[in-house]
C-alpha cells in the first residue's frame, strides 16, 4: 500500500499541483506586504489560463501564450488596483466582483471566440515543454519532479529565494514593506504608497497569469470554464498560513499540492472522484483550523 502510494509519479503530481498555487500565492504575498487586500488571485489566474490558451492557439507557441497570459493577468489586475487603491473602494467587494468578472468574461469569450462551450481543446494549442536539467533530473524520486519542469515551474521555484532577497535585502523591498506596515511613515520619507501598491497588484497579476499558463498549458493543454476552480482561494489561504513569508508560502503551497496530488493518486486507486476532488479544500480548512490566530488582519477587515 505504502509503496503503491509514494513514488516518483506521486511526487511529480504533487509538484505539478503545487506550482500554480505557489505562483499565485507569491503574488498574494507581495500584495499583502504592500498592504493591499488581495482576494482576486482566482480571477486573475482564470484570465491568465484563458489568455495562455488563446495566445498559444493564435501563435501556435506556448511561449507566446505564456507571455500573453502574464500581460493579460497584469492588465486585468489594474481593475482591482484602480478600484481599491486609487478610488479607495472596498477591497473585499471589488475583489469578489473582479473574480466574478473574470468568470463571466472567460465564459463569454470561450464560445464567442472559439465557438465551443465548456472546454476548448485544439491541436494548434501548443503545450509547455519540459526542460530536464542534466544530472539533477536523474536523482531518484524528487529529480524528475523538480528538475524536469516547465519554464513557469522553474520560475516559481526561483521566485521563492528571489522574492525573499527582494523583500528583505533590497531598499525597494524595504520600502514596499514600509508602505504596507506604516503607510504614513513611508510617505513622510518620500515613498509614494500608491505607486508601490500598484506595482504590487500588477506583479500579482503577472504571477497569476503565469500560474494560469502553467494550469492551462502545462498541467493540461486546454481551457475549461472556471478551470482555476478555487486554487486562487487556496493561494489566499497559503499567504495567510505562510505569514506572507516566501518560505512559509512555499510550505503552505506544498501542503495543498500534496493534498491534490495524493487525491489524484487515491482516485487512481479506486476512490470516487467526488471524494478526492474535495481533498485539497478539506486539507486547507484543516490547516486553517490548526494554525489559528494568524488572521487578525482579515478578521479586522471583516469586522468581527
Amino acid at each position: 500500500m505504502f509503496e503503491q502510494l509514494f513514488d516518483s509519479a506521486l511526487v511529480e503530481s504533487v509538484v505539478r499541483a503545487l506550482i500554480p498555487i505557489l505562483l499565485a500565492a507569491l503574488g498574494g504575498m507581495i500584495c499583502d506586504r504592500a498592504g493591499v487586500f488581495q482576494i482576486s488571485l482566482e480571477g486573475m489566474m482564470l484570465v491568465g489560463a484563458f489568455a495562455a490558451v488563446a495566445g498559444s492557439y493564435l501563435a501556435t507557441s506556448a511561449t507566446v501564450g505564456t507571455v500573453i497570459a502574464m500581460a493579460a493577468g497584469s492588465a486585468f489586475s489594474l481593475v482591482l488596483a484602480y478600484g481599491a487603491v486609487s478610488r479607495q473602494g472596498d477591497p473585499i467587494v471589488i475583489g469578489v466582483a473582479v473574480n466574478l468578472l473574470a468568470l463571466g468574461l472567460t465564459s463569454f469569450l470561450l464560445p464567442q471566440l472559439f465557438g465551443v462551450r465548456g472546454v476548448f481543446q485544439d491541436p494548434r494549442v501548443d503545450g509547455l515543454n519540459r526542460f530536464p536539467i542534466p544530472f539533477l533530473s536523474d536523482i531518484p524520486i524528487v529529480g524528475p519532479a523538480i528538475f524536469r519542469s516547465t519554464i513557469p515551474g522553474y520560475l516559481a521555484m526561483l521566485a521563492v529565494p528571489a522574492l525573499w532577497v527582494f523583500l528583505f535585502r533590497t531598499p525597494i523591498g524595504l520600502r514596499l514593506r514600509g508602505v504596507g506596515e506604516r503607510p504614513v511613515s513611508a510617505e513622510t520619507l518620500g515613498v509614494n504608497p500608491t505607486q508601490y501598491k500598484y506595482a504590487a497588484v500588477v506583479a500579482s497579476g503577472m504571477l497569476c497569469g503565469l500560474a494560469g499558463a502553467q494550469l492551462a498549458l502545462g498541467n493540461v493543454v486546454q481551457f475549461s470554464e472556471n478551470m482555476s476552480s478555487g486554487r486562487g482561494w487556496i493561494a489566499v489561504v497559503a499567504v495567510m498560513l505562510g505569514r506572507a513569508h516566501p518560505a512559509g508560502v512555499l510550505g503552505a503551497s506544498a501542503l495543498f499540492g500534496a493534498a491534490e496530488g495524493l487525491g489524484f493518486r487515491l482516485q487512481g486507486n479506486g476512490l470516487p472522484v467526488q471524494i478526492t476532488d474535495a481533498l485539497p479544500y478539506v486539507a486547507t480548512l484543516v490547516a486553517l483550523a490548526l494554525a489559528r490566530k494568524r488572521f487578525k488582519r482579515i478578521l479586522e477587515l471583516t469586522a468581527a
Partner: protein, 359 residues
C-alpha cells in the same frame, strides 16, 4: 424640451447606481462589438427576450433564486459577516429538500413544507460550520465559507452518483420528485412558482425584522462598529452564529425550491452552473442589503440573464455577457462611492495604523 432632457440626463449621471448601469452597458456594448456582433441588435434581443412572450415568466422565475440568495447573503452582511458560502449552503439544502420530497411517505400537504424545512435545516447546518470556525477558532468566515463550497459540491455529487442515483439515467441525478410533491405553480405570470409568495413574505419579514426589532437593530450596529456593539452589550459571537444559520437556512430553502419547484431532479452541478448564489451576492451589494431595492435589483439582474439567454439563442452571443455586466456594475459602484458601512470599518483600521505610524 432640450433643457429638461439635459436636466434629467444630468440627474441620471449624478446618481451613482444609474451612472454605473449606463456605463457598464456601454462597456458591454464595446465587448460585444469587439467580438463581432452589432451591440444594438444584441441588446434589443436581450430586452425582447426578457420581457415579451414567455420571457416575462422566466424573468420572474429567475428572480426567485436571485433575490432569495441576495436575502440570504444580506442578513450576515448587515452584521459585517461576509458569507461567500451561499452556493454550498444552497446545494446541500437543495439535496436534503429534494430527498425529503422524494422519499417522505406523507401526504403532499405535509411533504412540501417539510421538504422546505429539510432544505433550511441542512443549509443552516452547513453554514454553522464556518460560523463555529470563526467564533471558536478565529477562522475568517470569508475564507472558510468559500472553501466549503467545494466539498459541498463534491458531497452532493457523490450522493447523487452513488447512494441516491437514478439507475435509469446516465447522468448523476436523483429520480424525479413525484408530481404530487412538487411546489405548485401560480396562475400569475403564466405559471410562476408558488415559491414567489414565500419569497415576498420572507422579504417583508426581513424588512420588518431589520427596522422594527431589537436584534435587527443590533445586527446593523455590529456591522457599523463591532467593538462598540460588543461594548454596548451585544453578544457578537452569538450573533455571528444566528446570522449564519439564518443565511444558510434561506439558501437551503432556495436550493430546495430550485429542484422541488423547478427542475424536479437534483442533477449534479445544475444549481451551481447558473451562479445564482453569486448573482444574489451582487444584488445584495447593489441594493445595500435593503429588501425593497433588492427586489428591484434582483428583477434587473434576472432580466439581464433571461434576456442574455434569448440573445444567445437568437443572435448567438453568449449569455455570460450578463455576468460581465453584473460584475462591472458592482465594481463601478464600489469604486465610485464606497458602500458606507464597510468603508467606515476600513477607515477605523486605517486610522489605527496612522496613529502607530506617527509615534
Amino acid at each position: 424640451m432640450a433643457e429638461t432632457l439635459r436636466a434629467s440626463t444630468n440627474r441620471v449621471l449624478r446618481n451613482p447606481v444609474a451612472f454605473s448601469i449606463v456605463l457598464s452597458l456601454l462597456i458591454g456594448a464595446a465587448i460585444i462589438a469587439a467580438t463581432g456582433t452589432n451591440p444594438l441588435l444584441a441588446y434589443s434581443e436581450m430586452v425582447r427576450g426578457a420581457l415579451t412572450g414567455s420571457g416575462l415568466r422566466n424573468t420572474v422565475s429567475r428572480m426567485i433564486p436571485i433575490v432569495g440568495m441576495a436575502l440570504a447573503i444580506s442578513i450576515p452582511f448587515r452584521a459585517g459577516v461576509i458569507n461567500l458560502g451561499g452556493e454550498g449552503q444552497m446545494v446541500i439544502g437543495g439535496l436534503a429538500g429534494t430527498l425529503a420530497a422524494i422519499y417522505l411517505p406523507l401526504p403532499p400537504v405535509l411533504v412540501i413544507p417539510l421538504a422546505l424545512v429539510a432544505g433550511m435545516v441542512a443549509g443552516a447546518l452547513w453554514a454553522l460550520l464556518p460560523a463555529i470556525g470563526q467564533t471558536a477558532l478565529k477562522l475568517p468566515i470569508l475564507i472558510s465559507s468559500l472553501l466549503l463550497n467545494y466539498p459541498a459540491r463534491a458531497l452532493t455529487g457523490y450522493m447523487v452518483r452513488f447512494p441516491f442515483a437514478d439507475p435509469t439515467v446516465t447522468s448523476s441525478s436523483t429520480v424525479p420528485v413525484p408530481e404530487s410533491n412538487r411546489i405548485p405553480k401560480l396562475a400569475l405570470f403564466d405559471g410562476v412558482s408558488a415559491s414567489l409568495v414565500l419569497l415576498i413574505l420572507l422579504l417583508i419579514g426581513v424588512a420588518l425584522f431589520n427596522l422594527r426589532t431589537v436584534p435587527g437593530y443590533e445586527t446593523r450596529m455590529t456591522g457599523l462598529n463591532s467593538r462598540f456593539s460588543r461594548y454596548g452589550g451585544v453578544a457578537v459571537d452569538r450573533q455571528v452564529v444566528w446570522v449564519m444559520l439564518a443565511s444558510g437556512g434561506i439558501a437551503g430553502m432556495i436550493g430546495t425550491h430550485l429542484v422541488v419547484g423547478e427542475t424536479y431532479r437534483f442533477l449534479d452541478g445544475d444549481l451551481v452552473v447558473s451562479g445564482f448564489a453569486w448573482s444574489g451576492l451582487l444584488v445584495a451589494l447593489l441594493a445595500r442589503h435593503r429588501p425593497g431595492p433588492m427586489l428591484a435589483a434582483g428583477a434587473f439582474f434576472a432580466a439581464l440573464q433571461i434576456g442574455g439567454l434569448a440573445m444567445q439563442r437568437n443572435v448567438n452571443v453568449p449569455w455570460q455577457i450578463a455576468q460581465v455586466l453584473q460584475a462591472v456594475v458592482i465594481i463601478m459602484i464600489a469604486g465610485r462611492f464606497v458602500l458606507k458601512a464597510r468603508r467606515e470599518t476600513a477607515a477605523v483600521i486605517e486610522g489605527e495604523t496612522t496613529v502607530t505610524g506617527e509615534v
